[in-house]
């Protein structure tokens, strides 16, 4: 079995639906360190992506690009731009194919991580979404079963949040509140966990 546009589309629909549920807690967490709109960003982005799903092309790469564009339509926030960057990186790597084997997904995620680091000028260890994505990549390395990959990624992300909670934020807006960020989960890392939780919700 492999990743096709119908599979991608179903997954994104589950994520978008889950964001409606997760938004309030994301806003509240973000509000402790910034302007408190990360949940709004994710809901708006999710709704725009959801709207784009019925008309996605069969080409996995072009479908991912349409999702990246939809996400940027909703939000100019840097988190939104970073997620769109990840989608675009995967889009470039899969352009022209209607099926992508699951075994390629770890490499696609690694490409997305590199693109996000380049665009956001952040490093691993800065206490950002990059750390959780990196943990997920390490956890799914060499796997090709999507359900097992998702479970492994979720566990690795939980462990990363747990491990980094006591550290200060080292980049971005939250850095200004570095002391206050100690003991708090990074909102971007939590939003990534919510994406995985959305994927894991029953169809």
């Amino acid at each position: 079995m492999s990743l096709t546009v119908p599979v991608l589309s179903a997954g994104l629909a589950r994520i978008a639906a889950h964001m409606e549920v997760a938004a309030d807690s994301l806003n509240a967490l973000d509000g402790q360190l910034g302007d408190g709109d990360l949940g709004v960003t994710m809901v708006r982005g999710g709704r725009e992506v959801d709207k784009a799903l019925p008309t996605l092309p069969a080409d996995v790469g072009m479908a991912l690009m349409a999702c990246a564009q939809a996400f940027t339509r909703a939000s100019g926030s840097s988190y939104g731009t970073l997620l769109a960057t990840a989608l675009l990186s995967a889009a470039k790597a899969t352009k022209g194919r209607t099926e992508v084997p699951w075994s390629e997904v770890p490499a696609l995620l690694a490409g997305a991580l590199a693109a996000m680091m380049a665009r956001g000028k952040a490093n691993l260890g800065d206490k950002t979404v990059l750390d959780t994505l990196n943990a997920a990549i390490q956890a799914v390395e060499g796997m090709d079963d999507p359900a097992k990959m998702l479970a492994a990624a979720a566990a690795a992300v939980d462990a990363t949040l747990e491990r980094m909670r006591g550290e200060p934020a080292k980049i971005g807006r939250a850095r200004i509140f570095a002391d206050r960020s100690v003991g708090l989960d990074d909102p971007g890392q939590v939003a990534f966990r919510e994406i995985l939780r959305g994927l894991a919700t029953p169809a």
């Binding site: 564009q69 100019g76 675009l88």
Partner: protein
């Protein structure tokens, strides 16, 4: 705040409405309500598209320079904020006549991030794209870190020269090379006397005493290099020219164009008073001034102050600078 407006949140859209109503021969939205402006009609087949984009509050920059021999399309952000990736993609699509698209814009973090991503998206659609960033504000970083400098009024020379090169039918690589040469040839320094107010914020972007000026201040109120007592026009001009010539010497026989630009509120009279010194100093250095520009070309709404841009010309840049072009704010 003392401004003539309706809803502060409608500031940008109502500006675009009025601009398109007043000058339909130059400006057309890409779709109803869009914050993307293009030249009326379809993109010219076989011509390289030249686009720009950036925040509102700087008219005629950026949107005003859409027109024959200048830009083909422009993405428009909120006041002093980057346009979205989506708007940039739309501007680039509108400008694409099959020969690729060059984006020319100022070196600001949000604009760079969004234009980079918009370019990658166009390339997914098999449209070749290139970019040239203006980094002409010499007060914003030392020469060793010139790539970090902000883009300011020099960008109008880059729009003009890139637009003329595209109009001549040059290919994307050639238009890009020439636009980069124009951008590299520009140096700008500004001085601010009073701040401006972002309509939605309702208060000035910075405070400055009645008798003070700030040399090197950015067009969004970014800190400059020196704040001090307001001097006479000749002293201000001399200090700004000292900075220019220290950053890049002007030699006997050089041909340059200059822009003495109002940041918004400073009247034409004061620009001409300043121009005397610009002319005297450059002429004394042995340079010939070609096609000087004096007026409001790149503003920060109602900020009072001026900027001097000097562009050093070679034969190619001079020819393209003098080529015909027109928009509602500038005709060559």
């Amino acid at each position: 705040m003392k401004k003539i407006l309706n809803d502060p949140y409608a500031y940008v859209d109502e500006t675009i409405d009025g601009l398109c109503l007043a000058f339909p021969q130059y400006y057309e939205r890409t779709s109803p309500g869009a914050r993307v402006i293009k030249r009326p009609g379809a993109a010219r087949t076989g011509k390289v598209g030249v686009v720009s984009g950036g925040g509102s509050g700087h008219l005629p920059v950026f949107t005003g320079y859409v027109g024959p021999g200048l830009l083909d399309a422009c993405a428009i952000g909120e006041v002093f904020a980057s346009p979205s990736v989506e708007q940039m993609v739309e501007a680039m699509r509108a400008a694409n006549g099959g020969a690729g698209v060059l984006r020319v814009y100022g070196n600001y973090g949000g604009d760079v991030m969004n234009f980079d991503m918009a370019g990658e998206m166009l390339e997914m659609e098999d449209v070749p794209t290139t970019s040239v960033k203006l980094a002409d504000d010499i007060a914003s970083a030392p020469p060793a870190e010139a790539a970090k400098r902000r883009g300011v009024a020099g960008m109008i020379f880059a729009f003009k020269i890139a637009g003329a090169a595209a109009e001549e039918g040059k290919d994307l690589a050639e238009v890009t090379r020439i636009a980069q040469a124009a951008a590299d040839a520009c140096r700008t320094v500004g001085v601010a006397l009073t701040p401006c107010t972002v309509p939605q914020a309702g208060r000035p972007t910075f405070t400055i005493a009645e008798d003070e000026m700030e040399i090197g201040m950015g067009i969004h109120g970014e800190p400059g290099v020196r704040r001090g007592k307001l001097h006479t026009a000749d002293v201000i001009a001399a200090e700004m020219l000292d900075m220019q010539l220290a950053d890049r010497p002007i030699a006997r026989g050089d041909r340059v164009s200059v822009l003495v630009n109002s940041l918004g509120a400073t009247p034409a009279e004061e620009l001409f008073i300043l121009y005397r010194q610009v002319h005297a100093r450059l002429t004394a250095a042995g340079a010939t001034i070609v096609m000087p520009l004096v007026g409001r070309y790149a503003c920060s709404m109602e900020m009072s102050g001026v900027s001097f841009t000097i562009i050093k010309l070679d034969a190619e840049l001079e020819r393209l600078l003098k080529a015909p072009a027109e928009c509602a704010f500038w005709r060559v």
